[in-house]
Subunit: 136 residues, 2 copies
Amino acid sequence: MSLSDCRVIELPKIADARGNLTFVEGGNHIPFDIKRVYYLYDVPGGADRGEHAHKALHQFVICMSGSFDMVLDDGFETQRFHLNRSYFGVYVCPMMWRYLDNFSSGSVCMVMASAPYDESDYIRDRAEFISAVAAS
Amino acid sequence: MSLSDCRVIELPKIADARGNLTFVEGGNHIPFDIKRVYYLYDVPGGADRGEHAHKALHQFVICMSGSFDMVLDDGFETQRFHLNRSYFGVYVCPMMWRYLDNFSSGSVCMVMASAPYDESDYIRDRAEFISAVAAS
């Protein structure tokens, strides 16, 4: 899949003076069922994370607090997303090399994923990723 | 169901100097599949939310940032939970009156739910809730 299959999705926001509420339903607001939710926290300001790709996993990435950048790379081109609002998220399709950087202190990154954890779905070597893209 | 069916669940925490990671798989760490995720943010310090019960919905509540309290009430007894760590969550079974209060400024409350939004699943009137408990 290519970078053009990834996209920013604006989520519903129910505004209320007692706090705002945003919701995400699997198969409705995002194009997959939610099998796993994970989140990164206690990230030191300026840290970077996540140099890898997934063979088959679909993901949806939201900045729940603070801000960070996510760079997506399909082997041909790259795009940098600055995430700093919890009612926007980025849909990340399979076979997309990604890394996160520019974390603000106290930021929280939440990811919804289409499958349980499976180490065999990871591509952690950049050269292997480029070979797999070329073979597809 | 009664208050004894609700419980604090400690989630996996993968500690890393570049930030910690916690994950939740539906049907594994929590006793239901995740059909919907919603979150409360921009809650003013000291605000309160959520005076209602659900007839059939299962939920899992996590404090993603800051802190807040959740009070659960099965119609006979109540329990107050103070949430301030993102690797702990509270499983909330159906037919549990709940409210959230004591929000710290900048806190984020995330909820995983067993079904898409359905207004007919809500009980928003306390007297109606007590009647339903008595009839069960």
